[in-house]
């Protein structure tokens, strides 16, 4: 089980309580599709992903980005058992969606960068450490049921 300090718990709750899901979600997913274009392989039916401008303006990308970010809410509410919380989603990503788990890290790096842009100076080294630790646990849990 993962040990969380009081600071880490408070930091995660704070970031997500102030999260603008409809801005950050789309920004993170579109950034991932631009910065790591091979991730587009999973979105063949999303329409125009031809260039950065098209990706950023794509309404399906925006909607899915928001969905993914809300998917983190479960972990935020169950920080003491993220592994169990995501068991089902892990199976889904493996068996139905066939997503290479390496992609989870790519998206989480983009999310970190978007949150850094939003929080500016408030995104200190300690806050970054807590945020990345949280995302690392999520990423690990999502990959847990792959076989």
């Amino acid at each position: 089980m993962v040990e969380w300090s009081d600071f880490e718990r408070a930091t995660i709750q704070d970031i997500f309580s102030k999260m603008e899901y409809e801005v950050v979600g789309p920004a993170a997913l579109s950034r991932c599709l631009v910065v790591y274009p091979w991730t587009q392989r999973y979105f063949g039916n999303f329409g125009n992903l031809y260039n950065a401008a098209a990706i950023i303006a794509n309404p399906m990308v925006a909607k899915h980005g928001t969905t993914i970010l809300h998917g983190l809410d479960r972990a935020v509410k169950n920080m003491d058992d993220i592994k169990a919380t995501y068991a089902e989603l892990s199976v889904l990503h493996s068996e139905k969606l066939h997503v290479d788990p390496d992609n989870f890290k790519l998206l989480s790096d983009c999310l970190t960068i978007v949150v850094a842009a939003k929080l500016g100076k408030a995104f200190t080294g300690d806050v970054q450490a807590a945020f990345q630790k949280f995302l690392a646990v999520v990423v690990s849990s999502l990959g847990m049921q792959y076989h």
């Binding site: 970190t112 850094a116 100076k121 080294g125 970054q128």
Partner: protein, 143 residues
């Protein structure tokens, strides 16, 4: 994943906007790296003070960004342009190459936090490719 002309132009454009703050970026990125990835502290045990924003950290951050500045100017031939630094990293510093990725990530986070409007997805992909190419050039002589 080599740098296209478009990438090089984007890197130079971004650098023009952020280079005035190079020292601050370097100091913040390095401080952040030591905090978020504590294993990187193993390379600096000879410093009296490894805390974020300390004098050795600031000085070293400045040095690292000087290297990045050099790399921008040699963007058309990083392997030859960074030859000296490559030999230094291979034979003296022997920093495990995984750490180039770690520091690059911290630089990206700092640039994003300091320049949210300039660090667009297009600028991000070009700069990430560039830092990857720099890391490759720096590890050229490792084996």
């Amino acid at each position: 994943m080599s740098l296209t002309q478009k990438d090089k132009a984007a890197v130079k454009a971004l650098w023009a906007k952020i280079s005035k703050s190079a020292d601050a970026i370097g100091s913040d990125a390095l401080s952040r790296m030591l905090t978020v990835y504590p294993q990187t502290k193993t390379y600096f045990s000879h410093w009296p003070d490894m805390s974020p924003g300390s004098a050795p950290v600031k000085a070293h951050g400045k040095k690292v960004m000087g290297g990045i500045n050099l790399a921008v100017s040699k963007i058309d031939d990083l392997t030859n342009g960074l030859l000296e630094l490559s030999e230094q990293h291979a034979f003296q510093l022997r920093v495990d190459p995984t750490n180039f990725k770690i520091l690059s990530h911290c630089v990206l986070v700092v640039v994003s936090s300091m320049f949210p409007n300039d660090f667009t997805p297009e600028a991000h992909v070009a700069f990430d490719k560039f830092l990857t190419a720099v890391a490759l050039a720096l590890s050229e002589k490792y084996r």
